[in-house]
């Protein structure tokens, strides 16, 4: 086989692989959409309180929020995204939130979760925020001592639960 044919074959192989990934992901979106609450779109992050769906965090709503960033102390990588404080202000009247109100951020695929108080979230210095991961999912990161290293971060967050203490 000539070199030219080999190169064409390689380019074709790359195109096929990309198409297969996008096709399978689209299929997965359809399957997930069937299983989820009808008011949620694939990719949305639901916010529940006492089992009731209060809001669905989606990318369109966050587009006009200011992005913030900080460099994590563990690996020196820049974490960039949206403060949870600003996200909650987008969906709720946060002045009614008590400092002790708990927010549980969880990831079903990682089997991880963390509870943060509104007091912790509302302090901008704590940088409690969603960082956009490489594959487009959200990762909860912060400067808080209990959430400042990779093992403590909650990757692939897919649910937020608000709990009255």
């Amino acid at each position: 086989m000539s070199q030219k044919k080999r190169i064409i074959l390689a380019v074709g192989l790359i195109i096929v692989l990309v198409a297969v990934v996008l096709g399978l992901e689209s299929l997965r979106a359809k399957i997930i959409a069937k299983d989820r609450d009808v008011s949620l779109n694939p990719g949305d992050i639901p916010v529940y309180k006492d089992g009731e769906l209060l809001a669905a965090v989606n990318s369109e709503d966050l587009a006009d929020l200011q992005m913030v960033q900080f460099t994590d102390a563990e690996q020196g990588k820049v974490q960039e995204g949206w403060l949870i404080l600003n996200i909650m202000e987008k969906y709720f009247e946060t002045r009614h939130f008590s400092d002790s109100l708990q927010f549980v951020f969880s990831s079903s695929s990682r089997n991880k979760s963390i509870a943060l108080s509104w007091e912790e979230i509302a302090e901008p210095e704590n940088m409690v925020m969603f960082d956009l991961s490489g594959r487009g999912t959200l990762k909860l990161v912060s400067k808080l001592e209990k959430l400042d290293v990779r093992d403590e971060w909650v990757q692939d967050v897919d649910r937020i639960e608000i709990i009255e203490p």
């Binding site: 380019v11 790359i14 992901e25 079903s108 695929s109 487009g136 990757q155």
Partner: protein, 181 residues
């Protein structure tokens, strides 16, 4: 006595390339908020390694050894198994691409090898995410953006590797290396 596939010298050289990948992954932090940007130096090192030790399986060896090193150093966002397999996948991807395309001193070949090798890593990460039930991309076209980023940085890394090979050849490095073997 049966002749070994890789000489001791070649094994040492390949292991050094593996260590270089891990060191570069830790030390070189590009201020780019794009997925897969480490492919720039990763694929360049891989391409150079495959020409310094021009044997089938050299890239796989580098991939697996760098994967083991990275696993023990706790690198990667998605756990040790993911790290080991994704690092190994790059090496295996590069070897398979070289089987099809041949000499990486051709810049087009080096670029394509870079793309295929780096995309193999993306496939592993994506497959792990899909199998573990990771949520779909939050941002519309998040996955497409990620794919494009992996392909571009893989291509740039492959091209950089190809250019490095040409520079090394011009400097007479491979002739020098042949004498040392």
């Amino acid at each position: 006595m049966k002749k070994k596939y890789f000489s001791t010298f070649q094994l040492i050289v390949l292991t050094l390339f593996s260590a270089l990948i891990v060191a570069a992954k830790i030390a070189l932090r590009l201020p780019i908020q794009l997925p897969g940007h480490s492919g720039l130096f990763w694929m360049a090192i891989m391409i150079v390694a495959t020409r310094v030790v021009p044997k089938k399986g050299a890239a796989s060896f580098v991939g697996i050894v760098s994967g083991i090193m990275a696993t023990f150093m706790g690198l990667g966002d998605f756990g040790s198994l993911n790290t080991l397999i994704s690092y190994s996948a790059i090496g295996i991807g590069v070897d398979l691409a070289l089987l099809l395309l041949g000499n990486p001193e051709n810049l087009v070949v080096a670029t394509l090898v870079g793309i295929i090798g780096h995309f193999a890593k993306f496939l592993v990460k994506w497959a792990f995410g899909a199998i573990s039930g990771a949520p779909l991309g939050f941002v519309a076209l998040g996955l497409a953006r990620s794919i494009i980023s992996y392909l571009v940085f893989g291509a740039l890394g492959g091209l950089l590797g190809g250019l490095t090979l040409l520079a090394l050849k011009k400097a007479g490095f491979f002739a020098y290396l042949a004498e040392k073997k």
